[in-house]
Symmetry: C2
Subunit: 234 residues, 2 copies
DNA sequence: CGGGATGTTGATGGCAGTCAAGCTCGGTGG
DNA sequence: CCACCGAGCTTGACTGCCATCAACATCCCG
C-alpha cells in the first residue's frame, strides 16, 4: 500500500484526474486495483457492444469516443484528454467505441472492482457525478452545434475550443494551435465531411482569421475575436 | 415526517422516479424539502444563464430541455417524462432552459438542500449517477443522429422511440402513437425544419409505414419493421 | 360559422455531400 | 542527396438534400 499510493502521488494527473478527490487511503485502494497500460495510436480500448469490463483515467494522450450507424458512418461523441475519465461504471455493456488518437498512457481499473471502490469512497463517487454532468453539458452543447449550426460556425467553434484548451488565458490575441487530430476526425467530430472542413479552413484563411501550416496540423489564430464572430453570427 | 413520507409513498412515480432508491427515512428527508407545483403548458421552469436554484422530479407531464444559439435557433437537447429527474446538482448556474410542453406536475427541491440530502443518502446519489450516465448515453445516440443521419432516418427513428415508449412489448406489429409534441418541437428535437418533418411524415405515409390523423398528432404505425428499416438503412 | 394556430404542400435556391483530380509533406530507399 | 512514393490535405465541378419562402388546408375553439 505504501508503494502503491506512492506511485499515485507521483502521477502526472494526480490533481486533475478523478483521483484528485481521493484521500490517501482511497488512493491506495485505487492503486491496488489499477494498472498502467500504453495504447498505440489507432489502437482500440473498448468496442461498442462488447462487455463493459474497463474503466480508466487518462494519464497522457488523446482518445476519441465514437458511435456508429449501421451503415458505417461514424460520429465522434467525445474527445478525451489527460486527466479525463473513461468508462461507464454500473453498465453491463459498452455502447461506444473508445480509440487512441495518439499514443496514450492509461491507468486501467476492472469495472466491477472500480465500482466497489466508488462505494467505499463517497468523495470519488461525487467527483464522478460532477464529471458525468459536465460531460452531459458538453454533449448538449454539441447537440446544438450538430443540429443548428452551419459548417463555418462548427469549424470556427472547434478551433476556439482548441485555443481555449491550449491557451485559456489569451483573450483577444493570437494563439498557435497544434491540432491534435486528422481532418477525418475533425469531420467526424463536427458532423461534416473532410472536404467541407478543409474548405471552411481555407475560407477562414482568406478571411484573415487564421493561417495554416505543416500539412494543416498547425493553425495560427490571427484574430480570435474574428473567429469568435464567425463561430457565432448574430 | 409521518405525513410527509406518506405523501411520497402515495406518489404516482414512487417506483420509477429517483425516489425509488430512497428508504423511508431518506424519503422523509426529501419530502421535508420538496413541494409540488403545477406548470402550465408552455411555462418555463428554469432559464439558461439564470442561477441554478431548483431540482425536481416529474410526477406527470412532459418537459423539454433546450439550448439556443446566439441567433435564436433552438435545439431540444432532451425530453423529460413522468419519473424523470430535472436539474443540475452541484452546478452554480443552469446552462439550459426547461419548459413544460403540456401541463406538468413537479416535485421541486431547492438545489442546495437537495445536494445535502444526496450527501446523506448514498443510494440516492448512486441512482442519480446512473440516471446521469443514461442521459449521457441518450445524448450520444442523438449526436450520432444529428451528425450523421438523413431526414427520413431521423423522423422514422423518432417515431420508433415514441412507439417503444408507449408500447415497449409490441414487436413486429402495429401501434398507435399519440405524438406528445408539436411539429415545431419535433423539428427542434431532430435538427430539422417543420416543413421537412411534415414532408418526411407524408413520405412515410405513402410508403405505407404509417397513417396520420387528428392534425397529425396521432400516428398509426402500420409496419414497425418497415419503419425500422427506413430508420436504419443498410 | 369565423378566425387563428397548426400542419401540409409546392417552388426555388443554397449549402454541404459526392466524385475526382491535384497538391504537400514526410519518409524511404537508391 | 535526391527521386520516389504514399497518406493526408486541398481544390474543383457537379449533384442532391434540406432550408426558405409562400400558398393552401385543416383543426380547434369560441
Amino acid at each position: 500500500m505504501g508503494t502503491a499510493s506512492l506511485r499515485c502521488l507521483d502521477c502526472a494527473v494526480r490533481d486533475t484526474a478523478l483521483c484528485g478527490a481521493a484521500d490517501e487511503e482511497q488512493l491506495a485502494a485505487l492503486s491496488a486495483i489499477g494498472r498502467r497500460r500504453i495504447l498505440a495510436a489507432g489502437q482500440v480500448l473498448t468496442w461498442a457492444g462488447d462487455a463493459n469490463l474497463l474503466c480508466a483515467n487518462i494519464v497522457a494522450g488523446i482518445l476519441k469516443v465514437t458511435a456508429s450507424t449501421a451503415s458505417g458512418r461514424e460520429q465522434i461523441v467525445g474527445l478525451l484528454f489527460a486527466g479525463d475519465f473513461v468508462g461507464q461504471p454500473f453498465s453491463e455493456d459498452s455502447t461506444v467505441t473508445v480509440t487512441a488518437l495518439v499514443e496514450s498512457d492509461l491507468c486501467l481499473y476492472p469495472r466491477e472492482r472500480f465500482e466497489r471502490a466508488l462505494g467505499d469512497a463517497p468523495a470519488l463517487e461525487r467527483a464522478l457525478l460532477r464529471r458525468t454532468m459536465a460531460a452531459l453539458n458538453d454533449a448538449r452543447e454539441r447537440m446544438l452545434t450538430l443540429g443548428q449550426r452551419g459548417a463555418q460556425e462548427r469549424v470556427a467553434g472547434f478551433l476556439l475550443d482548441l485555443a481555449d484548451r491550449t491557451a485559456p488565458c489569451t483573450r483577444g490575441g493570437a494563439v498557435t494551435i497544434d491540432v491534435p487530430v486528422s481532418r477525418r476526425d475533425m469531420a467526424d467530430f463536427l458532423g461534416l465531411t473532410i472536404e467541407t472542413v478543409s474548405r471552411q479552413l481555407s475560407r477562414l484563411k482568406t478571411q484573415g482569421a487564421v493561417a495554416l501550416s505543416r500539412g494543416g496540423r498547425t493553425i495560427f489564430v490571427r484574430e480570435r475575436s474574428l473567429l469568435a464572430a464567425l463561430a457565432n453570427p448574430g
